[in-house]
């Protein structure tokens, strides 16, 4: 025991306490719905996605090209100078094979979230997305990947207009 201290307060409950009706509790639900405005820069990003284009933004002072685009450079604290169309390809900066849902239920086929450095953006600048059309065990950091788009008529101006990124097919 920690010298000269204690007993430490706090009353631990176990599943049994609930099953055996030893403690009372109350269930509740909060109904919270939102409609988010996109903002100016992310609005432009989403419009780009609907066109089938990944848009970045350029700050001429720190000479960074960032993605997603923003209205102002958070480092220089000045307006961005321009939007810059980027390639719809990139490199896997990091990835995970995820076997659980948000509420920790198992899934058999892993989801593959990744940070993808987008070609044309500054080094270490990328977006979070998912990988697909690839055997999970074949994914590596540094893998070149390309966007797989929804058909133009199905795009809504959302990050999900890109279904996922898949490995770049090496041309001979």
């Amino acid at each position: 025991m920690t010298a000269n201290l204690g007993p430490f307060p706090g009353t631990a409950l176990s599943e049994k306490d609930f099953e055996q009706d030893k403690v009372l509790y109350l269930h509740d639900e909060v109904d919270a719905r939102f409609a988010w405005d996109t903002g100016v820069a992310v609005g432009a990003y989403l419009a780009g996605l609907r066109r089938g284009e990944i848009l970045g933004a350029r700050c001429n002072e720190c000479e960074r090209t960032v993605v997603p685009p923003r209205a102002f450079c958070e480092r220089c604290f000045r307006p961005m100078d321009s939007y810059v169309p980027l390639a719809d390809r990139g490199t896997v900066n990091t990835f995970s094979l995820c076997y659980v849902t948000w509420d920790v239920r198992r899934i058999e086929q892993p989801e593959i979230p990744a940070v993808i450095e987008i070609e044309g953006a500054s080094e270490l600048h990328g977006i979070m997305h998912k990988l697909g059309e690839v055997e999970p065990e074949r994914v590596t950091v540094g893998m070149r990947v390309q966007a797989v788009w929804k058909p133009a008529e199905e795009r809504q101006g959302a990050i999900t207009d890109i279904r996922y990124f898949k490995p770049v097919e090496e041309t001979q």
């Binding site: 025991m1 920690t2 010298a3 000269n4 201290l5 204690g6 430490f8 307060p9 706090g10 009353t11 631990a12 409950l13 176990s14 306490d17 403690v23 509740d28 909060v30 939102f34 988010w36 996109t38 903002g39 992310v42 990003y45 989403l46 960032v66 993605v67 997603p68 923003r70 958070e74 480092r75 900066n93 990091t94 990835f95 995970s96 094979l97 995820c98 076997y99 659980v100 849902t101 948000w102 509420d103 920790v104 892993p110 979230p113 990744a114 940070v115 270490l124 600048h125 990328g126 977006i127 979070m128 997305h129 998912k130 950091v141 959302a158 990050i159 999900t160």
Partner: protein, 392 residues
């Protein structure tokens, strides 16, 4: 007017448990009462109260700070709640520090409370709004993703193995076996146990992660002219620092926490620490995941970049090593009631530096320690340096 020196003179904490019968207010009250009793003060001696607690979403209570105020002893007093995600527990102590250092108040009670069990089926969902609502959340992320992605980048950059990282979980859970408040202390756990635990989101396995918990911690701060009247052994806050990186987390180096370095450098400068690896005797870095302890040791300049795993492998970070790290048992072992877990690290330094840590006591009469927490969208670092010597 210059800054006044500030001492920690008392500390208290509840047990960290998976589900507490006690309400959030009751937990806050228990920790606050214990902290006051530990230094024989009463609520009448307290000039102001600082509260740290994480998202309102955990409790489903709007203005959770105000809701908790009664339990924190804030009735009829100046009161302020701060929140910087996982960095909150150490930040609340910093906020208490500047309340006193400024000359505004002589005695401040700092309370951190978290009850994560209320949210069901799993508190993870309360964190999902951390992701950008427009550019990320439509991908239906879960919270583990960001940790898995950062851990993978860290391992890949420096060639660190899962075994290297698992040693941290083993060390901390073993350390926690001596902590009377611990949820997951285990004197017998092995590296194999960690490596064989369920894969959640590679490279993160179940035993790489700290448990969601309920609990509260409180400390009492006083100005230098009051401290000696309260206790024979005040522990001084010698330096503080806090720093934020961008929320555009996919636009930065995930292998190195630069914001932690920035916070640490500010704290070292204030504390007059020029050679941290020699002058910091105990470290309590934030360890919600085992790799984070390593990441943070590097950001804190206590290990070379990519070099922290070697310190662990060499036993340097054991309780009996040259630089004990998380002798408390950390979040991995004691538990992770978010804000309370950060303040637990400050309380641990207080007990360790006074020689009151019982079974957990670091040998060799340590003189100075560092506590650090981390959070928000992997972007905030909060650092406090404490020692037995009052700064000149």
């Amino acid at each position: 007017m210059g800054k006044r020196n500030v001492a920690v003179v008392g500390a208290g904490m509840t047990r960290f448990v998976r589900r507490a019968q006690d309400s959030p207010k009751e937990l806050a009250w228990q920790a606050a009462r214990m902290a006051l009793e530990s230094c024989e003060l009463t609520i009448d001696d307290v000039d102001a109260v600082c509260m740290g607690t994480a998202p309102d979403a955990f409790d489903g209570v709007h203005r959770k700070g105000e809701y908790l105020s009664d339990g924190a002893g804030a009735w009829g007093k100046p009161y302020m709640r701060s929140y910087v995600g996982g960095g909150t527990g150490v930040f609340a102590a910093i906020q208490g520090w500047y309340h006193v250092a400024s000359g505004m108040f002589d005695t401040v009670l700092v309370v951190c409370e978290e009850k994560m069990s209320t949210y069901y089926p799993h508190a993870q969902a309360a964190f999902l709004t951390i992701f950008d609502h427009t550019t990320e959340r439509p991908l239906k992320p879960n919270l583990l993703w960001i940790f898995a992605l950062e851990m993978k980048r860290y391992m890949e950059t420096y060639g660190i193995s899962a075994e290297d990282i698992a040693r941290v979980a083993v060390k901390n859970k073993r350390n926690a076996a001596g902590h009377p408040c611990a949820l997951l202390g285990d004197p017998d756990i092995t590296v194999e146990d960690v490596l064989n635990s369920e894969m959640l989101a590679s490279p993160v396995r179940r035993l790489d992660v700290s448990p969601v918990s309920d609990g509260a911690v409180a400390i009492v701060l006083t100005s230098n002219d009051k401290a000696s009247g309260v206790t024979e052994h005040p522990v001084w806050i010698q330096g503080v620092g806090w720093n934020l990186d961008t929320a555009y987390w996919t636009n930065r180096d995930l292998a190195y926490p630069e914001y932690v370095e920035n916070a640490a450098r500010d704290a070292y400068a204030m504390a007059g620490v020029t050679e941290p690896r020699k002058q910091i005797h105990i470290v309590e870095p934030y360890d919600p995941f085992d790799y984070k302890e390593l990441h943070h040791l590097e950001g804190l300049q206590l290990a070379d970049r990519g070099g922290a795993p070697q310190l662990v492998a060499d036993g340097v970070t054991e309780r009996t090593g040259n630089m004990p790290v998380c002798p408390s048992g950390g979040l991995l072992g004691v538990g992770n009631p978010i804000a309370a877990a950060g303040l637990m690290k400050i309380a641990e330094l207080f007990w360790q530096l006074r020689g009151e840590a019982g079974e957990r006591q670091v040998p060799g009469q340590p003189e100075r320690g560092l506590a650090q927490a981390w959070g928000d969208l992997m972007q905030v670092g909060t650092v406090v340096i404490m020692g037995n010597e009052e700064a000149s």
